[in-house]
């Protein structure tokens, strides 16, 4: 009997896994011993880190997109039919169209989504660039902006831990280029007691913000936004005035996860070493949608995906477990317009960034271009 692998979600994690499996077991797929089916929400695949450049007019929207079918190995069956219910007891997924797919192994890779509506006034009063619609509106708002108080507000939980800092420094450059920096002031707010979750990054960015004249508020968790009065207030009791509010809205996992009873807030309880759903031995979880307390980032999705591929291939071909995920995360950090550094860490190794250099900055720019190769499973 042919073994069925069903992947829900065709973002970064799902795509790397599907293509990676095909590279290793294409002969089994051709023989009909294994099938790989992916369920997605769209014909197109968006390069999310590219959204960072949209509000500043530094990228063309079409550069963000590729046809998902073209990124996927031809051996993969791909349906644009969002999962509406995931039944891990009955081992089947029901889609929006009513189609039902059974599986031998299920991969949950439904990512995370923005929920600005969970904070009163945020959806009406704030701008964000974490989705395309928001990034377009922010581009329009920046085009009109003629100086004033800008608040860059970070909420937990959110994906891509370094993006808020990049947004802050890019905003400053943008306002300088526009000639309105002398009439402007940026205040960056962060949920915990330092400027970034990673201590070495926090240590680097404090003097960098001081030098740039960027103000900051730590221990700031948004309670509400008042779009009329143009104020933002924290749970900690601080209120800031703004003329332009840029937020990283809080995130949740996909609705289908919570509605199928697979995890509060859409986060799936996941074994942090095996990447199996807790209580299942045939449901892998990968990328932003796990509840593992590590960074929700493309690099995490990538390292996790490599582990899932190895284990699925071993299970299918040899009936054995291959290896555990070691918690590896790697992040490039832009330390200015021309220099960058990187940090990596895993469950056993604390982060320890190297000295910033221009070469690393160029490597990050190059890496942006390599995204499509890694999604194809070639990196």
């Amino acid at each position: 009997m042919s073994k069925k692998i069903l992947i829900v979600g065709g973002g970064l994690a799902g795509t790397i896994i599907a293509n990676g499996l095909c590279r290793q077991i294409s002969s089994d797929i051709r023989k009909g011993d294994v099938s790989i089916t992916m369920l997605g929400t769209s014909e197109t695949h968006m390069y999310q880190p590219g959204l960072l450049y949209v509000p500043f007019g530094k990228i063309r929207e079409r550069e963000l997109f590729r046809q998902q079918r073209k990124i996927l190995n031809k051996l993969i069956i791909f349906h644009v039919d969002p999962a509406a219910n995931i039944d891990v007891e009955g081992k089947q997924v029901t889609c929006a169209s009513g189609a039902v797919y059974g599986y031998d192994y299920l991969v949950l890779a439904t990512g995370s989504r923005l929920v600005p509506e969970t904070i009163p006034g945020m959806a009406e009063g704030a701008h964000w660039l974490y989705d395309l619609d928001g990034a377009r509106k922010m581009r329009d708002a920046l085009a009109e902006f003629s100086g004033g108080k800008v608040v860059v507000n970070v909420n937990a939980p959110h994906k891509c831990p370094v993006a808020p800092l990049e947004i802050t420094f890019m905003l400053k450059d943008f306002l300088e280029e526009k000639g309105v920096w002398d009439k402007s002031q940026i205040t960056y707010t962060y949920p915990i007691g330092r400027l970034h979750a990673l201590e070495p990054v926090a240590e680097w960015c404090k003097p960098a913000m001081d030098e740039s004249g960027i103000k900051y508020e730590t221990f700031f968790n948004t309670r509400e936004v008042d779009p009329q009065a143009k104020t933002i207030t924290s749970e900690e009791g601080v209120t800031l005035d703004y003329d332009l509010l840029v937020t990283i809205p809080p995130h949740r996992g996909a609705e289908v996860i919570s509605e199928s009873g697979l995890g509060d807030g859409g986060w799936v309880p996941t074994d942090r070493n095996k990447l199996l759903r807790e209580g299942s031995n045939d449901v892998f979880v990968c990328g932003d949608t796990t509840n593992i307390p590590i960074s929700k980032a493309g690099s995490t999705a990538h390292f996790e995906a490599d582990t899932v591929i190895d284990n699925l291939v071993s299970l299918l071909t040899e009936g054995r477990w291959a290896r555990n995920y070691d918690g590896k995360v790697f992040c490039f950090v832009e330390t200015g317009l021309k220099t960058g550094t990187y940090v990596w860490f895993d469950y056993k190794t604390p982060p320890n960034p190297g000295a910033p250099s221009q070469m690393i900055h160029w490597f990050k720019l190059a890496y942006n271009r390599l995204y499509w190769l890694s999604a194809r499973g070639l990196l």
């Binding site: 969970t118 937990a156 939980p157 831990p161 949920p191 915990i192 007691g193 330092r194 979750a197 990673l198 201590e199 221990f219 968790n221 749970e235 900690e236 009791g237 809080p250 509060d264 807030g265 942090r272 307390p293 590590i294 960074s295 918690g327 995360v329 860490f345 895993d346 469950y347 056993k348 604390p350 982060p351």
Partner: protein, 76 residues
């Protein structure tokens, strides 16, 4: 019925225990508790400081087998 959720953030450097606590509290009801396990000394200080600032309750905290733990009750 109030519940207690455990977050095992040992060996987690980013986003770290306090950010995990903040995210978890958003999904819980008033009266529910979160127990965080952590190996990060920095947030051993931060968590009680933040909880007091915001008005949640630190139920207990301490060291256990080479890691640090704190139990927080959601108060509002």
């Amino acid at each position: 019925m109030s519940e207690r959720r455990i977050i095992d953030a040992r060996g987690s450097y980013c986003p770290g225990p306090l950010m995990e606590l903040i995210a978890a509290l958003k999904l819980l009801q008033v009266g529910d508790e979160v127990e965080i396990l952590s190996t990060d000394q920095g947030t051993a200080r931060d968590v009680p400081e933040w909880t007091a600032k915001v008005g949640h309750e630190t139920v207990e905290s301490g060291d256990k087998d080479g890691h640090w733990y704190v139990v927080v009750r959601k108060m509002k």
